[in-house]
Subunit: 527 residues, 2 copies
Amino acid sequence: MDLHGRSFIGWASGTDGGKTFTAINPATAQPIAPNYISASAAEVERAAQLAAQAFISFSRTSGKERAVFLREIANRLDGIVDELVIRTNQEAGLAEARIRSEAARTAFQMRLFADLIEEGSWVRARLDKGDADRKPAKPDLRSMWRPLGPVVVFGASNFPLAYSVAGGDTASAFAAGNPVIVKAHPAHPGTSELVGAVIIAAARACGMPEGIFSLLFDAGTEVGSALVKHPLVRAVGFTGSQRGGRALMNLAAARPAPIPVFAEMGSTNPVFILPGALAARGEQIAEGLHGSVTLGAGQFCTKPGMVFLPKGKDATNFSQNLSKRIGESASQVMLTPGIQSAYTGMVGARAKQSKVSLAAEGKPSAGEVGVRGVPAMFAVEAADFLDEPDLSEEVFGPTTLLVSYGTREEMLEIARGLQGHLTATLHGTDEDLREYRELVEILEQKAGRLVFNGFPTGVEVGHAIVHGGPYPATSDGQSTSVGSQAIYRFARPVCYQNFPGAALPDELKDANPLGIWRLKDGALTKD
Amino acid sequence: MDLHGRSFIGWASGTDGGKTFTAINPATAQPIAPNYISASAAEVERAAQLAAQAFISFSRTSGKERAVFLREIANRLDGIVDELVIRTNQEAGLAEARIRSEAARTAFQMRLFADLIEEGSWVRARLDKGDADRKPAKPDLRSMWRPLGPVVVFGASNFPLAYSVAGGDTASAFAAGNPVIVKAHPAHPGTSELVGAVIIAAARACGMPEGIFSLLFDAGTEVGSALVKHPLVRAVGFTGSQRGGRALMNLAAARPAPIPVFAEMGSTNPVFILPGALAARGEQIAEGLHGSVTLGAGQFCTKPGMVFLPKGKDATNFSQNLSKRIGESASQVMLTPGIQSAYTGMVGARAKQSKVSLAAEGKPSAGEVGVRGVPAMFAVEAADFLDEPDLSEEVFGPTTLLVSYGTREEMLEIARGLQGHLTATLHGTDEDLREYRELVEILEQKAGRLVFNGFPTGVEVGHAIVHGGPYPATSDGQSTSVGSQAIYRFARPVCYQNFPGAALPDELKDANPLGIWRLKDGALTKD
């Protein structure tokens, strides 16, 4: 497909005149054609108006109809993977295998939500029967979850497919019945355009209304701000930095009518290596940790950025082992010049902190070009860690911090002081787990997902996954951005009192024509 | 029980020294002993610290254990109803029958949540089995909803029992496993103290940890603000005015770590009387509407405050009928001097609006004393209504506004322009409902509950009820503050990856020892 460098405003292309920008190939630090044109204020307005208009009919489509649409997107995505392998590699510096697996995950997510809404029970139908003889008469009440309205999705830099134009936010918003306006991430506009064209084609093939999808480019932040402030927009999905996410939260909270922002803002993902596991499997854990820290140049929001372990010979061996692995690691191409420069700056600043030691640094390749980050490992004592809140902050890139503690109480104090994270990991024997039950109880309050004897990178897409966690990991610790439960971010309960059967949605009719699970007078049934 | 006028800070009583206030009997406009002492900043801090401490053990109690606690509260509430009849009548001007029915509802709510958590399936347990042979290995993932942490509840003026100290917010927060700190509404401190003492006694009788409950009095807004800003507080429940609710939303959104505020802020509850119903049952609807508008002096957040009907003879008859009823209605004792003065001010201002006519006014009783509101009915043409956004605002008290429209399109335009409401009501024949399908579709986007051929006052407590709706009806249109679904406001999903069975909560163990419904690999089962 030829790339045109223009937004999609419903079925139409964006016009000329806006400020332009180009993607940068991080492997060469060179710009990539074509130029992309920022959307105008009028185009933002038009996209919002079209979305609100499309919502009227799209919100009335059945789950089965929307499932067809999501599968059409998935199938068409499968058909452009070879194109993505070229363009996404150029724009994000990702290797072919990663692009293929991320594309497969993106299509899988569409199909997961298609299955969910085709089956239909996700709507949480509840029926409480009335009783005309009661004084006062008890009404017949039936409720189900319905879509919210136009949703704005911000593409993420680090998942140019799975959390971008057709990513998890878009899939779950569509699945619930909401139109989506995507603000493309400026680092991968070509990838965004390719995927956007797929969604437009799928929508037209399925007879969906114009405005169900728009894709807006912008060199700056004006388009994103205008979208979040637009009165017709009902919710926001975002994956990115804490600074960016908080800015959107503040904008949304200051609206005349505030709207929910579901921002996944990354975290430092603490790892606790307990004494038994450290003694028994120190080397194996070091190997796994090294892989998890450097995977994808450490540019995952689940990268383990701080590791807590008890002082002693086992910790020394572990630290030496991990140091050696980091020291032998080559520099890696990062996603964008901005991410690389932030990483290099933060690693440099950390190396200068008096109480932190740079335990190991990877090797810049000779004569290397492009936007690269050098892996680095730091070490600090628990008491100094507690004195320096900055050390808990996420450093996005291939680095981690080993924190050695003297006593169990010192470690528990650290755990109690943690802010919210997407994940918290424990390495332990069964005996460790019994002995450190209190640690598990503390971590449960701090993270959305607790990992045992594993590593937090690699987020399995399914029904039970929680990719969330208390602020600042997310804007809303009561939600998940990955997995089928993510659909509820973009829906709300609506109750019908004493409605005649003919006027009720199928999900709430007496005969249960969709055969879904429903809570009838408090009991789950398919009757 | 003797009233002491002091806060409960865990098991202890508040100290002297704070600014004092007294309740006012609205039937006499006279103060009622004793003086109540505002909690100090140190007491706020102590309540928050105790709540955070109590959360550690309370969050680990089983649903069955918490059910015993909730039932103990319910039973003890049943035991003080005679005392409440006296004190709540003095403080809120409510009649004995209303106080008895509200007390019964309050105890019912506690028992509803007790049943819910005893059964246990509310936790939304999800299990996705792992697959070690897959490349990469698929982890075992299990998730469930867990409590958030200390919850602050603001007592509501208009439900001194059912949405106050032991009301729906407190019941649902306790049910999920959260400690509760109640900021008592200053209009009914004695009622609050009586009910607070019941909760303290029930907590002690059930061996619950100190700090699971505190009750703070305050003459002003300092205590409430300090609680919402306190770093150990995790969520807020509020029922009250839009101004008050929005202030709390803004405070919570501006915290270093924002927290959710679940504010139910009332609404104007539009009623649409469609032509067929107006012709067939105009008189009956007028009678029902009069009852709904004047019930409890119009001091329900579901009071129907605007009524839309097609111009013509039927509308004229309807309007005359309702006018007569309102004109014959006596003034009513209102909850507080502040509410009465706001009501009187807003009714007076509306009567002066050039395009609005005062269609009827009730009768002040001769020689009446106390804090009273006179029922009033206004009328306006649709075009003028559309020009005056103020006319859509809630007027809390026994008044409503009739809006007559000329064309179907004019009516639909009004519907499209509505802001969020708790309820929207339709009166129609089956034919009306078919013909005005578009109106139903619009209203579904505007309200949490759609009522057919009924009246919105009277909120049935059960599983299917939704007492919510888009902003400004609530702060969070994705929640309900009434019914069993309200528990999810105070919980969040937590996922366990590859945890050994012994370390998992019972809800997630292989054998399903609690026998609850779980989503296993996407299918609901009790296996």
